[in-house]
């Protein structure tokens, strides 16, 4: 009885204190002007950057507490569709907009800004008994021949020439590719098309293609599982996923100097050095000649209308603030999730795009909260 009573009074005390705290908080908020709180936004699009975007949105709320940003990872195609229909405040895509997609945009919004946010890479992953998990070398034409089904065994002359001194088993090659439509496939097949005229003419490049050989698996996990299960398998994975998959990862030949480059966060970041602004439909960073670059690298973009007028002023301000923050402080968080940050210089160029965003005819400066 006594015990109960005491805990009851304790509860009253806590309650009183917390009410007091809330009261104090609200007074200080309303009397002083205070920092900009931000407003809610919605976006939709690419799945590849979804994990880093989720982290960014969460951390950005520490900066502007009202900035609840809802992002739906429905795929790049969906993102483009939603921003074209103006059902979201921003879109996201792994590929720059095609010319047809740009001409389908509503003209009243003054065109669209495509802002690169993070970089990623595609790796060639394999599982063959007798071959080391690192240091195995491939170049573009050989990789294309493997995925065309022309190179059928691991001991094939084409592979052997690239890997002198490595004893290769005669295991047959099983090709694994993505069955779902994916930006990863688009990047990989674009690279193969650039490397092999035969691939370019027979297969081509897109988010999904008609594969000449192999089995299709769902998502990165499916491809990784299929590779891991069968000796002699080879496939491609998104770098951020491959890091933890425990499979063999090939070094890829860089065309500019003939070096074999293992994929890494820094090598992918370096590849971004060749980005040119403004982004156009044929922008890509494949086979980047930049120093230290990994050949199969790609960017992902946020898509924002230049005229932010249909948004509220607070929303427009929040969007500008977020973009500024993502291209500055946000870049430091990228590595922790195995994405690669924009290389120095490119991030500055991306930042210099922001003044193209206007609200009711006026350029919005980033708030002091994000500049600090």
């Amino acid at each position: 009885m006594n015990k109960l009573g005491r805990s009851g009074s304790l509860m009253t005390l806590t309650l009183a204190v917390s009410v007091l705290a809330v009261a104090c908080g609200s007074t200080s908020g309303s009397t002083t002007a205070g920092p900009f709180k931000g407003a809610g936004l919605t976006g939709a699009g690419a799945t590849f950057p979804a994990p880093i975007y989720a982290k960014w949105f969460k951390d950005f709320q520490q900066v502007e507490s009202g900035a609840k940003i809802n992002y739906q990872a429905i795929g790049s195609g969906g993102g483009v569709g939603q921003i074209t229909a103006q059902t979201v405040d921003f879109g996201a895509s792994d590929a720059p907009l095609k010319d047809q997609e740009i001409s389908a945009l509503p003209s009243a919004r003054g065109g669209i800004l495509e802002i690169p946010t993070v970089l990623g890479g595609v790796v060639v992953a394999f599982n063959v008994t007798g071959v080391q998990k690192s240091g195995f070398r491939l170049d573009g034409p050989t990789t294309a021949d493997i995925f065309l089904g022309k190179v059928k065994t691991w001991s094939d002359q084409e592979i052997a020439t690239l890997n002198p001194g490595v004893s290769l088993p005669s295991t047959p090659i099983s090709v694994v590719h993505r069955s779902d439509e994916s930006g990863t496939t688009k990047v990989f097949t674009s690279w193969l098309s650039a490397e092999s005229p035969e691939w370019q003419s027979k297969v081509g490049a897109d988010k999904s293609v008609q594969w000449p050989t192999g089995t299709g698996a769902d998502q990165n996990d499916g491809v990784a599982a299929n590779i891991a299960q069968n000796d002699g398998s080879i496939g491609y994975l998104s770098f951020d996923f491959a890091v933890n998959a425990g499979l063999g990862i090939a070094d890829i030949e860089r065309d500019s100097d003939g070096q074999f480059v293992p994929p890494s966060v820094s090598a992918i970041s370096a590849a971004g050095g060749i980005l040119k602004f403004p982004i156009s439909s044929d922008t890509n960073i494949l086979n980047s000649a930049a120093t230290g670059a990994y050949p199969i690298s790609s960017t992902t973009y946020l898509l924002i209308y230049k005229k932010l007028d249909p948004l509220s002023q607070d929303q427009a301000q929040t969007l500008v603030d977020f973009l500024y923050w993502a291209l500055t402080k946000g870049q430091a968080e990228v590595k922790a999730l195995n994405y690669s940050q924009l290389p120095p210089g490119i991030d500055q160029q991306a930042l210099s795009l922001l003044p193209q965003l206007t609200y009711k005819g006026k350029v919005l400066d980033p708030s002091s909260t994000v500049k600090a």
């Binding site: 790049s76 779902d180 439509e181 897109d206 008609q210 089995t215 698996a217 299929n226 299960q229």
Partner: protein, 344 residues
């Protein structure tokens, strides 16, 4: 009957509740009619939408959409032919049916006729539980546990034994590594097993006692009773149950997609990757845009799947109806009732 009698006699019931019940009846009738018509309208709308969406693909490729073997979604070289998907859908469903039906019938007979001991209830519950497992769980289990066993043990074994037999052997040759039609068919067999078993059990349970006792009185053994009384009586019901299972197998998406290999092959070997209509729709729909005819092609595939499913449903109806005439009804009514339960 009793209700009619009451209404005929004005002295037995107070008029007020009767009037209220008539209003209630009318409201209920109206409400259910609205819902029923609404449902039909919804179905028509869905079909119409699919057809309109798929029209561009049908118009562009014509009959070639059904007979074509290429499915090339690359922008600028688009070419869509559904034959590999139709083939894969029918083959995996056929494997599933061939494997599941004998087991299901055996199980159903065991559960309702033969075994009345300790095994019966746990087994029945277990089979029903199989139906409650979400298909993605089957898919993951298939991908991570069943597929490796099939790749490394079952398929090489079949290839080395049955594969040597002429004609039939052609089904079991080829590289067993990676997802293929056979693995997908086996997963589907496990998935449709509870459906077919449940319906078959209902059917077998309606075999009249007189028939069983008659057979036994004539000196038939248990097996003979089964073969001469139970199975002939429930044959049509079992066919109906099979059709239901087939219907489920045709539409299964995610589990198949994870193990079927998702390749465009058409050939004799079951150890080659295949692709099914639901799997390709699920794989490609999210990113397919209207810039080309890709999305339209997928919608046209959906129309084809609906047509195939309708044909199967119509066939099962026909078979069930035929058995009404043959059996005087009871078995079939039970089968139809069970069918509705399973579908619901």
């Amino acid at each position: 009957m009793a209700r009619t009698a009451i209404q005929l006699d004005p002295n037995t019931g107070p008029p007020a509740p009767r009037r209220r019940s008539r209003v209630g009846d009318r409201v209920f009738k109206g409400a259910s009619a609205t819902v029923a018509v609404g449902l039909l309208a919804l179905l028509a709308l869905l079909l119409g939408d699919l057809a309109v969406g798929g029209a561009r693909a049908f118009a562009k490729f014509g009959l070639g959409f059904i007979t074509g073997r290429n499915w090339n979604p690359v922008f600028g070289r688009e070419q869509f032919g559904a034959l590999p998907f139709i083939f894969g859908t029918l083959v995996t469903s056929a494997i599933a049916t061939v494997l599941a039906v004998p087991v299901s019938v055996g199980l159903a007979v065991l559960l309702s006729e033969v075994h009345s001991g300790w095994l019966r209830n746990p087994l029945a519950v277990f089979v029903d539980l199989l139906a409650a497992i979400p298909s993605v769980v089957y898919g993951l289990w298939g991908l991570f546990i069943m597929k490796p066993v099939f790749d490394h043990r079952v398929e090489p074994f079949l290839s080395a034994t049955v594969g040597k037999v002429p004609v039939v052997g052609a089904l079991f040759r080829g590289n067993p590594n990676g997802g293929d039609l056979f693995t997908a068919g086996v997963i589907l067999a496990i998935m449709i097993l509870p459906t077919v078993t449940a319906v078959t059990r209902e059917v077998v349970a309606t075999v009249p006692r007189e028939l069983l006792e008659g057979a036994q009185a004539l000196g038939a053994t248990r097996y003979e009773t089964l073969r001469m009384a139970v199975l002939p009586y429930s044959r049509s019901g079992i066919v109906g149950a099979t059709m239901l299972g087939l219907g489920r197998a045709l539409g299964e998406t995610i589990a198949v997609s994870l193990v079927v290999g998702n390749g465009l092959g058409i050939g004799a070997s079951l150890f080659k990757p295949g692709y099914t209509i639901p799997a390709v729709i699920a794989s490609e729909f999210r990113e397919a845009t209207n810039v080309g005819v890709h999305r339209s092609g997928l919608l046209a595939l959906a129309v084809l799947l609906v047509v195939i499913a309708f044909v199967m449903a119509a066939l099962s109806r026909l078979l069930l109806r035929r058995s009404v005439r043959l059996m005087g009804g009871s078995a079939t009514v039970a089968a139809e009732r069970a069918a509705f339960q399973v579908n619901g």
